[in-house]
Structures are given as structure tokens and as C-alpha cells.
Amino acid sequence: MIRAAIDNNSGIIVVRELTKRYDERLVLDNVSVAIEKGKTTVIIGRSGCGKTVLMKHMIVLERPSSGEVYFKGQRIDHLSEKQLAEIRRQYGFCFQMSALFDSLTVYENIIFPIQQKQKITDWKAMDELVKGKLAMVGMDGFQQQYPASLSGGQKKRVALARAIALDPEVIMYDEPTTGLDPVRSDIINELILKLKHELHVTSIVVTHDMNSAYKIADRIIMFHNGKIIADGDAEHIRNHPNPTVQEFIHGKVSEAELAALRLGGTRYNTQYSPEDFK
């Protein structure tokens, strides 16, 4: 099925003709995409292809060189940081390295977004809220620990609990399974699915873990050299005719890259051929 042309209300988040340059380097090349409400959209692509940059534009952590970003039909890319504050509270963002505050306990990390928004008077209710959020990610009982004492997977789960502290409508995950073993990766996948079903949130996941993508995605977008080269459900991506998509999903290096690797070897002057010893 081919989608209709994108307008500002095509989805909860709409990106139109987005281009991003860092000095002379073109990272996003005229990208247009609409994120559907309540669905899990997975953005895949090679490292450095611009997928995280695209996601950061959707919450305006990065400003576009040209193009527009809309949230619920309202253009947001040109708003000031102050104006963006209210909009960003409707997002939860899980960073690749978890980005938990080292100097705060798990409890303080989770109440942080709430505490900064309003003065907390009912601490008992706050204890319950933190307990509930941590229970949702299977981390209840870790309230008084500092991030330094947690494993990588535990940090990701606490970061997830913090991201849902303000009951967001959209949760963004930046490479949520990177650096985790397969079992812990699957726990994170299950959590993403659980949050989608229980909180009915819109999820955007940036990953290059295809097992994760197939498991959690309603829709997969493949990014290559700053452009979308494939867009569809898991089945569509699996059977996509584009060789770049097939190489990526099967984790195979292309013939051209292999040839470049072979040429890159070093030849030493002191090498002898077998004939020299005859």
C-alpha cells in the first residue's frame, strides 16, 4: 500500500522536507515523514546515517537547516526553548547511554521532571508514583541506589521509568538495546511493547538491532545516507528489493565494500614469493 501525501495533520509528529547540515556535511536530505499516533515506528539504518539526528529533530533538540516539524498539527521547529518546554513535556526520551543524573538516586532521577515542573507537597503520593513507575519496568526496590551501582540494562530501565514520569504521549528510544546481551535486549523489547499496550503511547525507536525491530515495530523506516529508502511493516522490509536494505537486514557487507577492504591491505617490501626459495 502506498501512503498519501503528507500534510501537517497526517500524524502526531510530521516532518516535512527536513534538511540538516553540519558545516558542509549533509546529514538529513529533504526528509518527509509522518509518525502515526499509538503506533511503534522503528527507524533503522547504519551507524551515522542520520537516524538519531532525525529523532532529535522531532523533539527539536536539534534545529533543522531547512524544513518543518509539526507536533499535533502545530509547527514547533521555530519555537523558542521556553515555548518548547510545554511541548517537550508530552515526550519521553530514552537516551542511548541512559543519561541518568549521576549525582541523584534512582528515586530523585524519576521525580526530577515532576519536581522541576511543580512544587511537591504530597511526598507520600510521590513515593507511590515512583514505586508504580519502577514496578512497571521491574525495578521497584532500587529507589535509593545511585546510577553508578546499576548495570547497563538496569540503567536503561530506570531511564525508561523516568521517561514515563510525566505520562508522555510519545516515547522516543535511542538505540535501547545497544550494549545489552540478547536476554536483556529482549527484556527491553518486552517493556517497549508493554508500555505501548498499557499506556497507549506513540513510540519511536532508533535501532540497528533487526531482531528488536521485527519484534516491536508496527512500521519500519530504513534510512541510508540521510534519505528514507524503505518504509513499511516488517513483512515489507523483509521482502524489500533494494540491495542496501537486504544487506542491512541480513548484516552482510556489500561486494563494493569488500573490494575496498581488500585493496586497503598493506604490502611489505620484505615479502618473498615462494619462488625465491626454490
Partner: protein
């Protein structure tokens, strides 16, 4: 060649513009934080880390400055039979220049470096981006408490440095070099004015502000990786140190003009 020069100039102007905007934003957030009691716990904790933690090193600096001045100046003054005026030289130097400047340099090393390293690490581990993603202004949350703590506590730390400088000078002059204690204090009291003590200490406001804002800016803009954080710390210290010297010069010119305006006769004596 001309193209490269123009490009470098434009980049420098762009950098200065970004820094000026950061100062503007940081100053506005600091003023706002002063009138918002919700920010006070953050300011207190920074005051504890920045101010209280710096007291020992500042006191040691002050004490040694006073003692060295006594040792170095004694021979010259004794040669002219003016050794009893040693206190004048030590105390004027400590209160007006050496106490404030050396205390500020120590703070630039201890506090400025730590601020840059802490915020730089937060930056490269995306903690600052995380704060922004929650709709919270990282400048208000991270920079304002640090700027206020430095701004308010540097003058107090300078008073500590002055106090220990005076005591250190006294210890060496009277106990080691045998100068009459009464004469030492009398001459010092005649020469050192309240104006000197107040203007000397108030320099700390400017020094503290410069150390904090440069340290925070370098932390916020540091490049990724351990090398990026290391470079940012070095740049923050060098920037703070040069700022202290430049501010000190401008401050001396301004305070001298004010003094001459209000007390034209006194300055001739």
C-alpha cells in the same frame, strides 16, 4: 589565505556571539533564581561544594602570600631603617591585589576546572540533552546555581585569604624577624583604609562571576570524549586566568578614578 583569515574571523565572531548569548541567558536565569525560593536548595549545595570546600586551599594561599612578602621585603626596608613599616607593605599588597587575585586564581583552578569537567561530562553523556528533553532549561538548573554560588562566595573567600595573609605576614614579621608588634599594627592601620578592604573584596564578585560563567560555558560546549573534556578544562582555566588579570586591571582603573573623584586630597598623601 585571505579566505582562511576571513573564515577564522567569522568563526571567532560567531563564537563570541554565542558566548555573549550564554552570558545573557545565564545572568537572567541567575537573577530569576535569586527570587525563586525553589532554587535555593540547588544554590546551597553549590555553595557548599564551591565555597566551603575551597576554604582550606584559599587560607593556605593567603597565609603563604603574607609570609613570603614579609621575607622578601624585610631586607629592603631594614636597609633604610623602615622595617617597622613592613606591615604597611604586606597588608596593602595582600588586601588590594595579591589576596584577591591569588585567591581567584586558586578558585579558577579548583572550582573552574571542576565545573567544566562536571558539566562537560554531563554534556557528552547526554545528561544536558536529557534535561532539555524534559522541557527544563539546563542553564537555569545547572548554570544559575553555580554562578550565584561563585559570585556570592568569592568575596567571602577573599576575606579569608586576606585574613590569613595578614596573620602570616604578622607571624613572620613579629615573631621571626622581631619587629615591634605595636608599631607593626599602628603603621598598618594608618595605611590600610576601609576602602582598600572593601574594593579588594568586592573584586571577588567579578572574578567569581567570570570563573563560573567561563567554566560552565566550556562545559556546555565541550567536544565528545575524554580528550574533549580535558581540552575544555584547560581552556576554562586559561580563559578564567586571563579574565581575572584583565578584570583586575579594569577594576583598578575604575576604582582609582572613583577614589580620586571622592577623595582628591587623600590620594596625594
Amino acid at each position: 589565505m585571505i579566505e582562511e583569515l576571513g573564515d577564522a574571523t567569522l568563526k571567532r565572531i560567531e563564537y563570541l556571539g554565542r558566548f555573549a548569548r550564554f552570558i545573557n541567558h545565564g545572568s537572567r536565569c541567575s537573577v530569576l533564581s535569586l527570587v525563586q525560593p525553589r532554587s535555593y536548595p540547588l544554590i546551597w549545595s553549590q555553595m557548599n561544594a564551591i565555597g566551603v570546600g575551597s576554604v582550606p586551599v584559599i587560607m593556605i594561599t593567603g597565609a603563604f602570600v603574607g609570609m613570603v612578602l614579609a621575607i622578601q621585603a624585610y631586607d629592603q626596608l631594614a636597609g633604610m631603617g623602615l622595617e617597622e613599616r613592613l606591615g604597611v607593605l604586606i597588608n596593602i599588597s595582600v588586601v588590594k591585589e595579591l589576596g584577591p587575585v591569588l585567591a581567584a586564581v586558586m578558585l579558577a583552578g579548583r572550582v573552574g576546572g571542576a565545573l567544566t569537567a562536571e558539566l562537560g561530562t554531563m554534556n557528552v553523556t547526554e545528561q544536558i540533552a536529557a534535561i532539555r528533553s524534559m522541557g527544563i532549561d539546563p542553564v537555569k538548573y545547572l548554570v544559575a546555581p553555580r554562578v550565584l554560588a561563585c559570585l556570592l562566595l568569592t568575596p567571602l573567600l577573599i576575606i579569608y585569604a586576606d585574613l590569613l595573609g595578614i596573620l602570616g605576614g604578622y607571624f613572620v614579621s613579629v615573631i621571626q624577624l622581631g619587629i615591634n608588634s605595636r608599631a607593626y599594627w599602628d603603621f598598618s592601620a594608618q595605611a590600610v583604609e576601609l576602602w582598600d578592604v572593601v574594593t579588594g573584596s568586592l573584586k571577588g564578585l567579578f572574578f567569581g562571576g567570570a570563573i563560573a560563567i567561563i567554566g560552565c560555558y566550556k562545559g556546555f560546549t565541550c567536544r565528545e570524549g575524554a580528550q574533549g573534556v580535558g581540552e575544555a578544562c584547560t581552556e576554562a582555566f586559561v580563559g578564567s586566568f586571563i579574565s581575572i588579570l584583565v578584570i583586575n586591571f579594569i577594576y583598578a582603573v575604575v576604582t582609582k578614578s572613583i577614589f580620586l573623584t571622592f577623595w582628591p586630597i587623600k590620594s596625594l598623601l
